[in-house]
Symmetry: C2
Amino acid sequence: MTAYSDLSAHFGRIAALSNAIGILQWDNDVMMPKGAAETRAESMALLQVMRHGLSTDARIGDWLGEAESDGSLGAWEKANLREIRRVWTVDTALPSELVEASSKAISACEMRWRQARADADFAGLLPYLAEVLNLQRQIGRAKGEKLGLSAYDALLNDYEPGGRSAKIDGLFDDLAAFLPGFTQEAMAVQARRPALPALEGPFATETQRALGLKFMAALGYDFERGRLDISTHPFCGGADNDVRITTRYDETDFTKALMGVLHETGHALYEQGRPQAHLNQPVGAARGMSLHESQSLLMEMQACRSRQFLAYAAPLMRESFGGAGPAWESTAMWHRYTRVEPGFIRVDADEVTYPAHVILRYRLEKALIAGEMALAELPAAWNAGMKSLLGVTVPNDRLGCLQDIHWPSGGWGYFPTYTLGAMTAAQIFDAACKAEASILPGIGKGDFGPLVGWLRANIHGKGSLLPTDELLTEATGRPLDAAVFKAHLRQRYINEV
Amino acid sequence: MTAYSDLSAHFGRIAALSNAIGILQWDNDVMMPKGAAETRAESMALLQVMRHGLSTDARIGDWLGEAESDGSLGAWEKANLREIRRVWTVDTALPSELVEASSKAISACEMRWRQARADADFAGLLPYLAEVLNLQRQIGRAKGEKLGLSAYDALLNDYEPGGRSAKIDGLFDDLAAFLPGFTQEAMAVQARRPALPALEGPFATETQRALGLKFMAALGYDFERGRLDISTHPFCGGADNDVRITTRYDETDFTKALMGVLHETGHALYEQGRPQAHLNQPVGAARGMSLHESQSLLMEMQACRSRQFLAYAAPLMRESFGGAGPAWESTAMWHRYTRVEPGFIRVDADEVTYPAHVILRYRLEKALIAGEMALAELPAAWNAGMKSLLGVTVPNDRLGCLQDIHWPSGGWGYFPTYTLGAMTAAQIFDAACKAEASILPGIGKGDFGPLVGWLRANIHGKGSLLPTDELLTEATGRPLDAAVFKAHLRQRYINEV
């Protein structure tokens, strides 16, 4: 055995354990009876401790040192070593007491958050959230010391390898300057449209599910390596070669669940398209959260909210639900699926206003981690940001800074990946359509073969072979900037009315 | 920490891992898309290796030695030590090469068996099965050496702790002498009944499921700690506090799936009724396979195929399916559910003829393990046994010695527990009804509270506190014998026509 093959076998075991955890987590969210919660939590905790034991195994350092001087390795193997070193550096950066303290603080804070959100009671959450923040700052500092990064960039790096706030600042400042005025413009255009006729329900869950499955098949989802189920919070999860997505049906409105299915299918296509030869190795993993979100948003926002797709999809919707009248026409459907309306809640936001929610959170969490703002000031700063970025007056903290679970659950540094993903999606979709003329006409016929073929070759099949910037430059000719995203918004919301 | 608390914590971890494996196995059989098979097999193999590592941990021997001389322990703790020593003795009896060789031989043999059964090709299976048998013999000898048992008894002991073939020989010889004549008698009685009118389908799956759920609730199944789903082979599985059962629906005949659900509910009630305070310890486990089977057969054969239950259930069946006519009357339903008919296939056999299938397999596997019979002689010996015990002439090995997966999959020593379970069920049900007069009238009203209450106190809640013989003696006043089972058959099939 060479050091490389030892490493590879070891990470294969870590993948086998992660796959088990992935399925147990899916079951937890989709199938588990509620009386099993405690038993399941014990199993999950044990498997996570076992995985941590494997991923911090002292032999990894020795194997890495030896393998990195092995001249016989190819590009994938070298990239695998780069990824293994990155993960291992981070995994071994934290003293186990800090990991444990953080895990406990998060559990307590999440539980308190559910109540505090319901009660719009920020003061009640404050001490719990302060503890989580304090520990996140320590975690960021400990990782940052090893990586030569600020605490915030070190946290961000876990979700977005190679992501740096200095670069995000520039991208987000560009967008923040553009969006408020653009939103007004788009809404003015929208106001000149005829009133949107209502879709008359009810829409049976089984019919919604059947239509979702039909569109998943059109997008190229492989049902032999996945499933569609129901959960409270839609997600894409599971394991290698077992990529499961979920949705939540509302019998008074099918449009959200349907578009949610297409969004999760975008995530799933990425997971199903990762390189089979390296599936259980770090180099075979998805490249990062912004690229992952780009794949869901490429399908949802770029492809499936397009006029072309909705011209194909609207008649199928009408036929499935036995609808009739102008509400079911494809232009009405397109107007419905591209409606702009500033609001308080991020997860309900449309394509145009969503980035403002993210930019606000990004700026706030960066200041909080850096200690430039006191946590007690969060509600006021939040509400001021919502006013200036979106022009809305937040009535209470339930609809304000208490709405998301990310901060209570320790997900600091995650938020920017949503909007990086939206920008990346626009840039990739634009490049794909320019490279392959059959993509847009294909989408108009429900044939996603050309699009997915291009994505397989240029994104999915590359796994973590290249750093994100290089991957994007190879695929689109340049690193990420805001220009294509802004042009896309202008085209869809102003020009293409 | 005392040695006992170290042991207890260690076995708590083993339980957490076993619970994870249980849910992954359930998912494998119920939910998993087929393209995930290889990935899942890797996860399962890893978790099983990890569990084996925990259960053969060298510290267990030291902890056991110390804890066994701890005078402060109570009855449950002492029984837990007894169980831990039993399991540990067996788990550490085998060299790892033997475990691995056996696991490989079983995989190869199972795969070959599927084809051989389809082709009725015993000769094609022979070399694979010979290898499995050879390794089972070695495993039995290695365990037997540690336990002071014959190879066969050592294998049996894994499924039926304390079970001994010398005792089973006596019980089964008793039954074997009784059954052929009794079967003829019962069929003569049956022949004098009016012809059984057919139930006209189809019977929608959803209706079958709803009725199954209704009866599960009547039996006392706790839906907050379990689920009902569909799988090719019905089973009861899952994890502590997460006891899941499955069935398989046939829209032309609801009676099998419905009774199958009641059978699995019997298993599930045992699992859900194990002592909460000891759920994750060996002493909290179900007592053994014959007692487990006794709980499913008590519900299915003793309670739910009774005249009393079917008088309550038949009108509900009729109402659910909108049935009409004499086929739906409770006496017809009882005749249908107590029909006797010798056949080739064990899993299709009725209550009267089932033991003959088991006795044949038991005698054959005992002779094969002892080397008293050559494997090549199996088909002829099988067919001769079927002729003498059941009076049927087996047309080919697909309907003969190739029908069950147990031997190809290494389950030698398992078969007798089916019929021990049937006898145990009769003895327990008889004792329960004598101790608690409200049980039978309750069953007649769909109220299983008195029955389950008695089982909770006398069987389920005891876990593995007592050896099987003692548990049964405490509950029924005597160790297992064939008398009550024979009396039950005589009452149901001769007297109570």
